[in-house]
């Protein structure tokens, strides 16, 4: 009897639980609303997955694929000043609170890279409006009437929203910019300290690492000294800058040294991150970056400009920015060069087994085979890991009518015999200048033979941007020995870019916003002088796009005696 009652009771409980579960699943959850809102914000898709209808400038019909919230207000919601067209922030705290003409509002926006006098005037405008709620937000988005019954600019598109999408968008907008004192440490922002990390893979030699760390240490020492000085006299500024001294923090850099094979790195990175969350990863060095790229993308962690020959190029990430496409870019530019020549003898790609050169060779293969009209044939000459190179290896190769592409490191390249002593009527040789570290270790003038060409990712010799001199002077004046100029100047660039970005960011500690600022300012005069030009744009992830193919004699230093 007792058993039966207990069984019935359990069945009732189970049925009730299932019923409640069904009811709960059948109504949209907050998470669902968030996803609907996020998708609308970023892709212009309504709750039913169709693109929203949009009216622009009063009479131009468009859709959510062409214009959406993120295209103007950006993923962070903090707005933009592109083209002198000031787009205000629409983060949760801004929209859903009353907006009063307070100096903090005005001055915070002035930190944005606003450009034209008209834009600055717009920011200076004394504005006030009531807080938005879901109903007022709907009216603003669909009819262009703000929370104070005033008409918004016609540059703000009018979107035809449905109820479910509006609800989702409200939830999503509330989440934008919603950092608070409790959540900030989770992204590496503590009340007095801003945490960064730099990452080294096991292949980096101690001298390279020490050279990079010397730049970090010198920069942070100066930066932190200046921050303390500013905080000691908070009213120093006659303008508005001192209003935001509270936003400045001491920078602390954590060195994440990876060990073992690449398969072990995700676990190590997770442990580092758990021990101390950081706001972003700065520079660093490593031959292979896939595992670190994946880690940064999974954690929504900005990973800024590492020194690596193998950036992840297959699918651009959201959070990882690179100097260039590395060996992929070199292979692409060599393929373009070879395909532009009238007569190309068969290509032989020479690399060591399991080296980054092997990856570069595959890039070139893919690129050469992509063009159907290309008649260039390519084969591989793979050097085993134990094999030593010498004259016996090179001389038969150099005597053939071949296009030799050398994806080798400096030690292997240095085994190439002096070309002036060999009959080179037939062979032409292309070498990756980055793999043989030519920027840090120039060849002796006698070795710059005309049969030799370099795939050159940097500014043309003697045509470097002027900032190179300033950067070198900075190193000298801080007592940083320039032993690895390429990596050191790259590190100097990363620090400069982040410094400017944090300056614009003020107290808006959003990683997404920091990346948006970096996308905007990289093209400003921050090029450390190594590259012909650097630029990014929304969602662009490779700052250097142009490579040169330089015949070796062009690289002979001007002051050398041949």
């Amino acid at each position: 009897m007792f058993l039966r009652e207990s069984l019935i009771c359990s069945m009732i409980k189970a049925t009730t639980f299932l019923l409640l579960l069904f009811l709960d699943l059948s109504k949209p959850t907050l998470a669902n609303d968030f996803q609907i809102g996020k998708r609308f914000y970023e892709k212009g898709l309504l709750a039913d997955s169709t693109p929203v209808s949009v009216i622009l400038q009063g009479d131009i019909k468009a859709n959510g694929h062409l214009i959406n919230c993120a295209s103007c207000h950006r993923s962070s919601g903090y707005g933009d000043g592109e083209g002198g067209n000031y787009v205000p922030p629409i983060t949760g705290p801004v929209l859903f609170n009353e907006y009063a003409p307070e100096r903090q509002h005005i001055f915070r926006n002035l930190y944005q890279d606003v450009q034209t006098p008209a834009t600055r005037a717009q920011v200076h405008d004394l504005k006030q409006r009531a807080a938005y709620n879901e109903q007022l937000l709907n009216r603003a988005i669909t009819s262009g009437i703000n929370s104070d019954d005033e008409q918004l600019s016609l540059s703000m598109p009018r979107f035809m929203l449905d109820k479910a999408t509006l609800k989702g968008l409200t939830v999503y907008l509330k989440s934008l910019g919603a950092q608070n004192l409790d959540s900030l440490p989770k992204i590496g922002v503590e009340p007095d300290i801003l945490h960064f990390a730099t990452i080294f893979t096991p292949d980096v030699n101690p001298a390279e690492k020490a050279a990079i760390m010397a730049v970090f240490n010198a920069y942070l020492k100066r930066k932190n000294f200046n921050t303390i000085a500013a905080q000691k006299k908070p009213n120093y500024s006659s303008g508005y800058k001192s209003d935001f001294v509270y936003a400045q923090r001491q920078w602390q850099l954590h060195e994440w040294q990876l060990t073992g094979s690449a398969e072990q790195w995700p676990k190590q990175l997770a442990a580092f991150y758990q021990a101390k969350s950081v706001f972003s990863v700065l520079g660093g060095k490593g031959q292979r970056w896939q595992a670190i790229h994946d880690f940064c993308e999974q954690r929504s962690l900005p990973c800024l400009f590492p020194n690596t020959p193998l950036p992840v190029t297959a699918k651009a990430g959201e959070y990882t920015l690179y100097f260039s496409k590395g060996l992929q870019g070199e292979a692409d530019s060599l393929a373009t060069h070879l395909q532009s020549l009238d007569d190309v003898s068969p290509v032989v790609q020479i690399y060591r087994a399991n080296s980054v050169g092997e990856v570069a060779a595959r890039f070139l293969d893919n690129r050469l085979s992509k063009k159907q009209s290309s008649k260039i044939t390519s084969s591989d000459l793979i050097i085993t890991e134990q094999q030593r190179l010498g004259a016996a290896f090179w001389e038969p190769l150099l005597a053939q009518k071949k296009t030799l592409v050398l994806w080798l490191d400096r030690d292997d390249f240095d085994t190439l015999p002096s070309l002036s002593s060999i009959n080179l009527q037939q062979a032409s040789i292309f070498v990756s200048a980055s793999l043989i570290d030519l920027k840090n270790k120039p060849l002796s003038p006698q070795r710059y033979n005309k049969a030799l060409s370099f795939i050159w990712p940097w500014a043309l010799p003697n045509h470097e941007p002027k900032r190179l001199y300033r950067a070198r002077a900075w190193m000298r004046s801080r007592g940083v020995p320039m032993t690895h100029e390429l990596e050191q100047l790259n590190t100097f660039f990363v620090l400069n870019v982040v410094d400017y970005a944090m300056h614009d960011l003020l107290d808006r500690f959003s990683r997404e916003y920091s990346i948006e600022i970096i996308e905007r300012i990289t093209e400003n005069a921050l090029n450390p002088g190594l590259y012909r030009s650097m630029s990014l744009g929304p969602k662009q992830r490779f700052a250097v796009k142009k490579y040169s193919i330089l015949n070796a004699p062009l690289l002979i230093p001007e002051n050398s005696n041949r």
Partner: protein, 229 residues
Amino acid sequence: MYRWKIVGQRDLCAVYAVKNSLAKQRLLSVLFSGLFLILAVLGIEPSDAVEPNKPRYQIREIQNTLDEAFTQKVSLIDANGGAVQLSDLVAEHRQQPVIMQFIFTSCANVCPVMSTLLRAVQKDLVGKAQLISISIDPEFDDSNKLQDYAKKFDAQPHWRFFTGELNDIIRLQKQIDVYQQNKMRHQPVTFFLLNQRLFRLDGLPSKEDTLAELDKMLEETQLSVSSPG
């Protein structure tokens, strides 16, 4: 009380506001509130509203730059990878208006609005005008990216997209005074080339405004827009 924008006094608060203590801020707040009220009586307008009579664009003819900008060699590459000289392109369409914009495909804010305008007017201009969009980020925007961009905006055959050498495109922008050192600062400008005359429209007009302005320019330049065929 703050709901007023003071004509000609926009920076007043910014210049004279005193920082630091709450008491000072409150005092200033009261003082400025009083000042706002006085100025409100003198002549003010509602804030945050669109000024109804403020033009959304300006249009003017550019003198003496046409030959300089469009007759010298500027090599461009179209979305199919074909090379073309800008001067040839312009000469080819001498009998028709040419509407030209500078854009870049990764541009988030201004370019989509500019290109959406051309997308809207292209249907009204079939056989009547040529539309040209030139990338100011040619090292990123290769032919493939331009093709994708054209597809995204439903470009018809009379709307063509070009990239080229960075230096050439910078030179062209400088000649017609639209160059910005950072592409993210580029301005929304649309050029109209009619009967050897060049007009420049600064701003973001509506479709109706654009077509009306084109009609006016056609009248002024006495260029017929009937299809050459």
